[in-house]
Symmetry: C2
Subunit: 347 residues, 2 copies
Amino acid sequence: MSNKNIGIKDVAAAAGVSVTTVSHVLNEVSYARISPETRDKVRTVSEQLGYGPNRLAQALRTQRTGMLGLVSEDIATTPHAGRIILGADDAARARGYNLMIINTSGAASEESRDADVEALLERRVDGILYATMYHRQVTLPANLSSVPAVLVDSESLNGAVTSVIPDEEGGARVATRSLLDSGHTRIGFLNNTDDVPATRDRLRGFRAAMHDAGLDGRAAPVEAELSEVEGGYVSALRMLRGPDRPTGLFCYNDRMAMGAYRAAAELGIRIPEDLSVVGFDDQELIAANLHPGLTTVALPHYEMGAWAAEHLIDAIEGRTDLALLASRPTILNCPLVSRASVTAPQA
Amino acid sequence: MSNKNIGIKDVAAAAGVSVTTVSHVLNEVSYARISPETRDKVRTVSEQLGYGPNRLAQALRTQRTGMLGLVSEDIATTPHAGRIILGADDAARARGYNLMIINTSGAASEESRDADVEALLERRVDGILYATMYHRQVTLPANLSSVPAVLVDSESLNGAVTSVIPDEEGGARVATRSLLDSGHTRIGFLNNTDDVPATRDRLRGFRAAMHDAGLDGRAAPVEAELSEVEGGYVSALRMLRGPDRPTGLFCYNDRMAMGAYRAAAELGIRIPEDLSVVGFDDQELIAANLHPGLTTVALPHYEMGAWAAEHLIDAIEGRTDLALLASRPTILNCPLVSRASVTAPQA
DNA sequence: CTGAAAGCGCTAACAA
DNA sequence: TTGTTAGCGCTTTCAG
C-alpha cells in the first residue's frame, strides 16, 4: 500500500544511497551501472516504506503524463459509450496509461467544446480520444490539433484526423447474407431517415448483398422511418401488408426490429416461422431479450476504443505517424450475432 | 486557444512584470495589491499569448490536483454506469475538478483492485469515488482509506465509509401505491432471487404499501426468479395462471416486466386493460419501448454520482467532515416514471 | 504596490 | 559504480 508521505529521498536515505540511484533502479534505466546488491537493497527498502512515485513530479520533469484525454459525446445516453470507454481503458492500462474523461453534449456550443479540450490540455494529457456515440461527421475543436488525437466512431469534417469507424456496409452485407443463406429471396429493408453515414452505407450493403446473390437489389423493397421502435413498427406494417410480402426483414437497428416484432405479432405473422428478422447494433438489452432472440450485427465499440487508444499511444511514443493513417478512416468489422430470429422460409 | 509552449514567465516578460504578479492577478489572490492597470495589462497579454497554466506544476506546488478518481465496477455492462459518470462529471466540472476513470471488474482479485486505487493515488487524485453498478455491499481496497472517498450505489462491509444509495424500499412503495391508487387490490409481486439489498427492500416496500392501504401485505402473492426476462416470464406465468389472478403486477425490474408482458400476451391477458404492470430501474431501452410503455421507478444514478462528487469535493476542501456522514448511507429518492401500463381495473 | 527566491518531487546530465 | 545538482512551471513567503 502506497504511502503518500514518503518520497524518493526518504527511500534514498533509508537505503543509504542517493536519489539518483533509487531513480535508476526503480525506473530500470538501461545505462545505469548499479550493483545487484544495491538494486536489491533499494527495491526492498522502497517496498517496505510503501513508496509510490509521484506521477505529477515525474510528468513535470519528463513532459509525459501518461494520461489520455477522452472526450465523449453524450456519454450517458447510449450504452455504447461504456464499451468504447472500456476498450480504451483496457488498451491504455496495458501500456501504463490512464484515462481522463470529459463528457460533452453533441449539441454543445463550439466554445464549450473548446473549453473541454482546453481542460485536458492544461492537464497536459499526452493525447486525446474524441468519441461520438454513433457514427457521424463532426467538426472538431480547433485546439484539438495541438496534441495527437484520434476520432472514435466519427469522421472529421475539418482536416484529416486519424479515425476509426465501423464497417456499416460490410455489416449490412453480412446481415442480408444471413437471410440469403437461409434461403430467403424476398427480403425487405427497414431503413432510417437520418442523413448519417450508416443510413447510406447499410442500404448500399443491403443492395450489394442482394445483387451478389443474383437478385435485383434495386427492386428489393425498402421503407424508411425514424430509427426508433415506433418507426420500425409503422414501416414494418407498411411492408408486411403490401403485396408479395417478404419472408426476410433486415432492420436498420435493433430498435426498429423491436417495432417490427410488434407489427408482425399484430398481423399474426410468426417470427421466425413466417418471417425472419435481422437487426443491427446488438443492443443486448433489446436483442437478447426479445422473443425469439434477435439475430443482429454487432458494432465494434470496444474494438474501436481499443484501436484508438493503441494507435494514439503508438503515436505519442513515436512508433507511428498518425498523419499516415489520417488520409482515410480505419474501418473495423461488424460481426453477425446469431440468435433465433432467422430460419429457412416455409415452403 | 491555449499554447502549450508558453509559460507564466513568458507572460511576465511580455507584460513587463514579475511572475509573482502574473500569478497573483490570474489567480485573483485576495491579499495581492496590484494596480488595475497592471491587472489589465497582465490579463490582456496572457489572453493574447494564449496562456494556460500547467496544472501539473500547479498541483505539484499546491498539493491539489483538482482530480477525482472514479473507480467503476463493470462500466460497460450496464447503462447505469453512464449516468453515474455523467452526474459525477457534471458536479465535478462545476467545481473545477476533473474525473480520472478506472474500470474494474466486480470479479477482480483484491490485488488488482488495490492496483487500481494505487494508480489513482500515484497520480495524486484529491479523492476517490468508488461506484458499483447495482446496489450492493463491497469490501473496499485497503489503500482506499488514504484519501477521502465516497461509495456510489454500495455500502462498505469493512469500516464506515460515506456512501449514497437508492431508496429501494421507498421506490417499491411508490410503485405499489401507483397500482393501489388506480384502484387495484389484488396485486402480485415478481421478486428477484439474488441476495442483495434491493431484493429485501423492494419486498418490504411492497408489503408496507399494501399494509398501509389496509390490505394484508403478508398474504399478497409473491413469486421469485432470476431477475431477467426469462425469470419474469416464468414467474408471471405461475402467478397469472393461479387462482384469484391479480389485476396489478409489480415487477422487481424492467427486464422481469418485459417477461411478464410476454406471459400476459400468451395468456391472452391485455395490458393495461386486464393487467396493470409496474417495473423498476427505468431502463429506457426497455421501459419506453415496450408496448404499452412501462410505468416504472427510476434509480437515481445521475443524482448519486452528483451527490457523491459534490460531497467528496466538500470534504477535500474542508467544508464537510465525511466521517459525520459515514455512520449510515445517504438514501436518495426513486421517483415514479408514469407511462401507459397502469390503469384502473376493469369492473 | 511589486519582485526575488525557495521549493513541490522527480529525472538526467554531468562529475567523481 | 554512484552522487551532485539543475531545472520542469508554478505558488507563496518575505522583502522591498
